[in-house]
Amino acid sequence: VTKVIIVNRDVSAVAQLKAEESRNLMAQQGTLVVNLMSSPGAGKTTLLTALARQLNAIARLGVLVGDIATDRDAQRLAQLVPAVQLTTGGACHLELPLVERGWQALGMPQLDFLFIENVGNLVCPSSHDLGEHLRIVLLSTTEGDDKPAKYPKAFRTSHVLVINKIDLLPHVPFSVSAATADAQAIQPNLAVFELSALTGEGIDALCHYLLEKQHKLSANFQTAHAW
């Protein structure tokens, strides 16, 4: 006896639905959720530190920091902003349920920005929707300009490419134009920012962009709510 059950469904359909719910919920509160991805050592925590220094005075920030082990990054950030460490216990990426627990551990405050620092990895995190409104992929000049071609999905699924450590450009064989061209061929709508999180060069433009996105998000909701 043979019985064929036709399923014909995307295996990630349920996860996508949950992520969409979370995205809407955060939008209703006016919170722009930002998922920050990169290789280990590209400067995610340093970038968040630089952003927090600039945005702290004008916006309410919260940070969730993903790592396989230790809470060192959260400790670094907690000096500036409310930060909770998400320890995956071996997993190479974050998933929505862990993010939701982190958000609860943060006390579910009313925020303008919730930054999620993903586990340092350019492969697996790109396949997991954390309910973010904005996905930023960070590429540092010390990693080589062929990363977009080698890890296309991370760039394909992102909205923003940040090229970090531009202060080191005189010392490393990295072509900003080659990296940008490759990344934008993979994701034509990618916005690109070149900066040094360490020296602060170029941070202003990214802050301006983030503030604009957050204003749009909260204005959209207020309009929808009034209707």
Partner: protein
């Protein structure tokens, strides 16, 4: 996925069940000139008109198509 299935097959006593994986090639469509193309090296710029407004139409998801059950025993539900 194939090795994960092997583990589950052994641990859940699924006998000689097999997993059939059919790779679907990545395909995209240009929203401006409607050209359908295979993005080589994941490049999503339209090869015919150069538009950046393109959408992946297949090959970027995992779809569970069907489950086939074979049984020689009496159907438990009947």
């Amino acid at each position: 996925m194939a090795s994960a299935f092997e583990r589950i097959r052994e641990e859940c006593s699924l006998g000689d069940s097999t997993l059939h994986i059919e790779p679907i090639p990545l395909q995209a469509r240009c929203e401006d000139c409607q050209t359908v193309f295979m993005p080589e090296r994941f490049h999503f710029v339209c090869p015919s008109c150069g538009s950046r407004d393109t959408t992946a139409t297949q090959g970027d998801t995992v779809i569970l198509e069907s489950i086939e059950l074979n049984s020689n025993a009496t159907d438990a539900t009947s």
